[in-house]
Subunit: 254 residues, 2 copies
């Protein structure tokens, strides 16, 4: 069971879009996938058509009251793909998790206790380096960092790298990270320039696959389905499929 | 002294870009402007070329230790425009502010005690509805909500509207809000459709001025200057100038 946290403090870099799209393409490739929505915005849950206001139990209940993960996991209508949804109560988790003993391990404990049988678990994080994101990075095998080739997004990597160093020392020595270039516009000079700089300074730390601007990714959340269901042959569907293949190959090697 | 909080829980909708651009265009129009960076990412401070790691004191010190705002305000090199910068210590504010008595009033008290003499104060908020954003909304006369014409950004308005109602009841009955359409691409069908829907459902709550996609806005933070200094005649410079005029006219009427 390989656990991927999808995180970047910078807002709007396609964390949620990557979680739902990669989840769907891994499922299409026959892998059993659990998506965990850790953001109070609940955008991942919305992307899959979940009526967030009607949820009886969400991930925040599991984290704060230690109810089993299995009681909140629900189907998505897509074969091999299930979801642990979020709602506004996740705002409470940011404030009340730190009161618990060893709060950093809450999510890891939840996953272990549930004795789950998935090939992949993907965790969508909020745009904030707090208690919730800490839990995801402590639980993860891989930190995937969606990054736009723009100044603020690249600057955000500094604090995230400091966090990775600290988490490796204190909780999760095996944590690996990989950057994913998202919302890339090949006609834009700044994008081309900064993405070259990223590949040079991070060497093997940047995934081969990159995701270009594709308006079908803006449309699919409105339809409540992943982009490969909404527009199976659009460019971003192909790119997220090759991302899934790159991840599957990476996991098999390690 | 008119105080504007620029906030939206949704990440990447141009909160920071709007704060620095509107601040600069108000200053260009002869108004004395203070910008307050309330985000641990410190993107507003970066946009003005501040070396964030070398700061002796930032806004978090003022909020947590009640040191005077005047000791942290610094020049920006642009006439009529000064800044209260942020740094990574703002992550602590999210966790430790709620311990203080009446923590929601920390920023309002800071502004009152400093006995400042500005025409406008603009506050750039993090993409998270927590203690820091609460402080900004309690202190503000106007909440400006940068909004992309995209599904998640529009969905985020629901929780922000709930917050506005609660804040009006408990702390700040005069709080008014206005949506600002940002990163608008007139060639994109989803953008055109959703922006029409926004204008209909929010009636007078949407500012006339809207900001279109303009790559000069991605370049100016790299140069450490506002877009009107980097590219004075580009489309977004004109649009942010007309936003400044719209705000000045609104403030004079009220
Ligand atoms: N490759 C792409 N092409 C076009 N639009 C995209 C692409 N990827 C994401 N988007 C759109 O950009 C916006 C931001 O993406 P998304 O919400 O997934 O980012 P996020 O990092 O999860 O944001 P937050 O920080 O708020 O959690 C969304 O409206 C999404 O539909
Ligand atoms: N009108 C525009 N045209 C093109 N790019 C833009 C425009 N407005 C903002 N941007 C770019 O989009 C990205 C997001 O903008 P910005 O960082 O200001 O959003 P934000 O809401 O402050 O994000 P966060 O939620 O992380 O604080 C930045 O890289 C910025 O340069
Ligand atoms: Mg998201
Ligand atoms: Mg910002």
């Amino acid at each position: 069971m390989y656990k991927i946290a999808i995180s970047n403090e910078k807002g709007g870099v396609a964390k949620t879009t990557t979680t739902v799209s990669l989840g769907a393409t891994l499922a299409e490739a026959g892998k059993k996938v659990l998506l965990i929505d850790l953001d109070a915005q609940a955008n991942l849950s919305l992307s899959l058509g979940v009526e967030v206001d009607r949820l009886k139990a969400s991930i925040s209940k599991a984290l704060l009251d230690s109810t089993s993960l299995t009681t909140i996991i629900q189907p998505t209508g897509i074969p091999n793909l299930v979801l642990a949804p979020s709602n506004h109560e996740m705002r409470l988790a940011e404030r009340f998790l730190p009161i618990q003993h060893e709060y950093e391990l809450a999510l890891s404990r939840l996953i272990k206790l549930a004795d789950l049988d998935f090939d992949y678990i993907l965790m969508d994080c909020p745009p904030f380096l707090g208690a919730v994101t800490l839990n995801a990075l402590v639980a993860a095998d891989l930190l995937m960092i969606p990054t736009q080739a723009e100044y603020f997004s690249i600057y955000a990597l500094r604090s995230l790298m400091n966090w990775v160093r600290r988490i490796r020392l204190q909780y999760n020595p095996g944590l690996v990270y990989r950057l994913l270039l998202t919302m890339f516009d090949r006609r834009n000079r700044t994008h081309r320039l900064l993405s070259e700089q990223l590949r040079t300074s991070f060497a093997g730390g940047v995934l081969e696959t990159y995701i270009e601007i594709d308006t079908k990714l803006r449309e699919s959340p409105i339809a409540g389905v992943p982009v490969i269901s909404h527009a199976p042959n659009t460019r971003s569907s192909m790119q997220y499929r090759s991302l899934a293949q790159e991840i599957i190959a990476y996991v098999q090697e390690t």
